[in-house]
């Protein structure tokens, strides 16, 4: 037990020194000093509760994916049938009840239609899974239903894209080190440190920014539209709150242009000095836009953002240059936000803020200062108390605690984990358990001395007997810590991380390191009695 050959001592010291060295950059940071950028800097990440900033949890409306897919499929089917040779006429198209159904008008064309449609139902992935099931009922009616596997894949893709879009939008804000991670099936966590005004951020993320240009259905009677009676092939959309128009308007569902083929979007002003967004199409978008405006001169078309009509101006002349101006009662801020959103692409799926936590930077700095102060006061009291109670053995324990705190910091910095306020509380508890290990050992040594064991033997028995309880206690604590980490969220995890790391390191410092020091003392001084 007390035998520590030189190689073992060197190893133990090397491990300790590496741990302590890794803690140095973090300590410098906590003390408010800059760390020279030339040196490697595994600094510990401060949680938002300490650094200040915003934490936003976004949830996607996955039910939407099904509707969008069915809509897209409808358009694909229409095009495919139109482009077939000879063209296949279809009618009575319905997208209700989560499926697409339509009639092939000529019974003789059913087989031809099936041949064209079947390849369209195959998945894009390598799984060989079909994305759609296709049925023919009553001889002429086709029914397309999205499969669960296909839908899942679509949600997955939509979430990946949404995460990218969110990242691009936040990058435009120019904040430092935002964290954007997917969580579970349908959530995205956004953490932006040091942000004072989360409103701006939320405005940016809350906007789907799906821009569409659709022709206004001029055949629809305003009275019908007001009553919500939809003319076939059209849909009724409301005007945006600040939009250039009242009530709602009927637009043609198909044949419009999606606003995703842009190369640029900038906030600007129109001739009256009102804020607008200037957009520039890419080549294909520009071509489509030119074709649409050329074919429909003199007719109104609606500019639609996220399902609301911003404005419905007349097409006075073909717009061929590939750029356009979007007006619709913007403020400079909202025009700017829209420009950013358009530049970074539309979200493929609506996102909603379901949890939001903001901590002011003042409070964060205050929390660190007070937390560290509390640790220092409490820690000093414990160190003093240990020294008065166990003398030399108390000093060994104190050195172990000191190293323990540093090594925990070092490991956290290297692993890139985050220190939160509950994490500081975790430190407190870890100090408690680490002290407990030494108290157990020292009390046991006292006891064995009282029973008349000789010095070396008392120390050996003390370490051996105490170790059993220490290990059992620590294993149960690790169990609790791991479960906390698995099930817990936010603050609970911050606490669990420190607890788990702290338990492992405290066994190392409080048991192994102190034993090495005690062994060194015994070998060097060969005391006949222990003051313990």
């Amino acid at each position: 037990m007390l035998d520590f050959p030189r190689w073992k001592r060197l190893w133990l010291w090397a491990i300790t020194l590496i741990g302590v060295a890794a803690a140095v950059p973090s300590l410098t940071m906590l003390a408010g000093q800059p760390w020279p950028s030339a040196l490697p800097d595994p600094e510990i990440n401060l949680g938002l509760d300490l650094a200040g900033g915003s934490h936003i949890l976004l949830e996607a409306d996955t039910a939407q994916v099904r509707d969008l897919r069915i809509e897209a499929m409808e358009e694909d089917v229409r095009r495919a049938m139109r482009e077939a040779d000879p063209a296949i006429e279809i009618g009575d198209i319905s997208t209700a009840d989560g499926r697409l159904s339509f009639m092939v008008e000529q019974e003789t064309q059913v087989d031809a239609a099936r041949e064209i449609l079947l390849p369209m139902t195959e998945g894009v992935g390598l799984t060989g899974q079909r994305d759609w099931t296709i049925r023919v009922v009553d001889g002429q009616r086709f029914i397309f239903e999205p499969t669960d596997a296909g839908l899942e894949q679509a949600v997955e893709n939509a979430m990946d894209t949404a995460t990218d879009v969110v990242r691009r939008r936040i990058d435009e804000l120019g904040t430092r080190e935002p964290t954007i991670i997917r969580q579970g099936d349908d959530r995205i966590v956004v953490q932006v440190p040091g942000l004072d005004d989360p409103q701006k951020l939320k405005a940016l993320l809350g906007q789907t920014a799906k821009l569409e240009f659709k022709l206004v259905d001029q055949t629809a009677l305003p009275s019908d539209v007001a009553q919500g009676i939809v003319p076939p092939g059209s849909q009724i959309l409301p005007f945006a709150e600040d939009g250039r128009g009242q009530g709602s308007i009927a637009v043609k569902r198909l044949g419009g242009i999606q606003g995703d083929q842009l190369t640029n979007a900038q906030q600007g002003y129109d001739q009256n000095g009102s804020p607008v967004v200037n957009i520039t199409f890419n080549q294909e978008g520009g071509r489509k836009f030119a074709a649409l405006t050329t074919a429909n001169v003199g007719k109104p078309f609606a500019i639609i953002l996220d399902g609301e009509v911003l404005s419905a101006p007349n097409i006075n002349e073909p717009i061929l240059g590939g750029s356009a101006q979007i007006s619709g009662g913007f403020s400079v801020d909202s025009a700017n936000a829209l420009a950013i959103s358009l530049r970074s692409g539309a979200l493929p799926i609506d996102l909603q803020v379901v949890e939001e936590r903001t901590v002011g930077p003042d409070l964060g700095a205050d929390s660190i200062r007070k937390g560290v102060l509390a640790l220092m006061i409490g820690g000093t009291a414990v160190l003093a108390f240990m020294f008065v109670s166990y003398g030399r053995f108390g000093l060994y324990a104190n050195a172990a605690i000191f190293l323990n705190v540093l090594i925990i910091l070092g490991i956290m910095a290297v692993l890139g984990t985050t220190l939160t306020l509950p994490g500081i509380a975790g430190f407190v508890l870890t100090i408690g358990t680490a002290v407990d290990a030494n108290v157990l050992i020292n009390e046991r040594i006292r006891e064995e001395r009282r029973r008349g064991r000789r010095v070396v033997q008392a120390v050996e028995v003390g370490y051996r007997e105490a170790q059993r309880a220490i290990i059992d206690a620590n294993v149960t604590n690790v169990i609790a810590g791991v479960l906390l980490f698995l099930f817990g969220s936010g603050p609970i995890r911050g606490f669990a991380i420190v607890l788990i790391i702290g338990i492992v390191t405290s066994v190392f410092t409080a048991v192994t390191m102190t034993r090495m020091w005690v062994a060194g003392y015994l070998r060097k001084h060969r005391p006949s009695d222990l003051n313990i």
Binding site: Q199, K202, G206, Q352, V353, V354, E355, E356, R357, T358, V359, G360, D362, L363, S367, K370, G371, L373, A374, L375, I377, G378, A381, V382, S389, G391, L421, P422, I424, A425, V428, G432, T433, V435, D436, V439, E443, R446, E447, R450, R468, A469, D472, A473, T476, N477, I479, A480, G481, L483, L484, F487, G488, S489, P491, I492, F495, A496, L499, N531
Partner: protein
């Protein structure tokens, strides 16, 4: 140097003599705690019920004008706020229910409007107020947080009991679990009684209490196990008393050192850890008590005895012994 000894050597306190009255008192306290939770309810924070919470510090005054603030905010027409001081007397948390709305998006919009109105009102009426943070949790997320929090608590307790059962004996597992239920109950009772805010941090605190209390229980149990092997003939009550007395110095030392750090955290640390630190400090008292009076006596009633740790000799063991010439 003369060293400090808080507990004299070789104490011989008859702890177990009073086990029955203490058990009755503890059971009554546990029942009272659950009663308090049932009648008073826990003051659940936005983490668990959803809603908006605004934290603010009245930087220029010593004490936050809670009553005035309550009237002012109620006057805005979003319903009555729950305002509580926490940490320092000039720091408050203001909690509001989420406004009613047709869908999640609308609720969120209304909630944002509400927060802006409240913050605007506070900044206008109270110069020197500092908004420290805003938490907004939707009903769906808060439900999940509550579920996972409770799941973590339950899973931790069961897993730990199983570990102790494996390492010791089934009676010890039950004893430890019972002590944990006792500690958690009393802590919940404290929160129901004082109406301190119960949020995710407090769940973490309760888990810390579980860890600490268990640590204590294991130290006592370890000594009981050791003594059971050592003193095969000693009556159980005497043996338990001996074990508790032998570990008494350690129990006192560890409780004191941990309390020192916790008190520092309570009174010097940041306001948001006050509830957390207070909960653990309370848990240390309860946990220490329960290791001695809950976890130990139950072993008598569950009929632990000196044979519990002597493995029954198998035929092969016997043959080996004979071969070694020990029999």
């Amino acid at each position: 140097m003369k060293l400090l000894k808080l507990v004299p050597d070789d104490t011989n306190v008859k702890f177990l003599r009073w086990r029955l009255p203490f058990y009755i008192v503890s059971l009554i306290l546990m029942a009272a705690s659950w009663g308090a939770v049932a009648t008073n309810g826990l003051n659940l924070g936005v983490d668990f019920v959803g809603g908006q919470m605004i934290r603010a510090t009245f930087v220029e005054s010593a004490e936050a004008p809670v009553a005035e603030l309550r009237d002012d905010i109620a006057g805005l027409g979003y319903g009555a706020p729950i305002i509580q001081r926490f940490g320092q007397p000039n720091e408050v948390s203001i909690r509001m229910r989420l406004p009613e709305g047709e869908d999640a998006a609308q609720v969120k919009n209304l909630a944002d409007q509400m927060t802006n109105a409240i913050v605007g009102e506070m900044e206008a009426s109270y110069p020197g107020v500092r908004i420290d943070g805003v938490d907004s949790v939707s009903g769906k997320v808060s439900g999940e947080l509550f579920e996972t929090g409770m799941l973590a608590l339950l899973a931790a307790m069961v897993a730990i009991a199983i570990y102790i059962w494996v390492r010791f004996e089934w009676q010890f597992g039950i004893g430890a679990l019972f002590a944990l239920v006792h500690d958690v109950s009393l802590t919940l009772g404290l929160f129901a009684l004082t109406q301190m805010e119960f949020d995710l941090n407090i769940v973490a605190a309760i888990l810390a209490i579980i860890g600490y209390s268990l640590n204590d229980t294991i130290v006592v149990y370890d000594r009981i196990r050791e003594n059971l092997k050592k003193y095969r003939k000693m009556p159980m009550e005497e043996l338990l008393d001996l074990s508790v007395n032998e570990t008494l110095a350690r129990t006192v030392m560890t409780s004191l050192t941990t309390l020192m750090v916790l008190l520092a955290l309570m009174f010097v640390g940041p306001a948001s850890t006050f509830g957390f630190a207070a909960a653990i400090a309370f848990g240390i008292f309860v946990g220490t008590y329960s290791s001695i009076y809950m976890a130990a006596p139950i072993l008598i009633w569950l009929r632990v005895n000196a044979d519990s740790f002597v493995p029954t000799e198998s035929a092969t063991d016997k043959q080996e012994k004979i071969a070694r010439g020990e029999v």
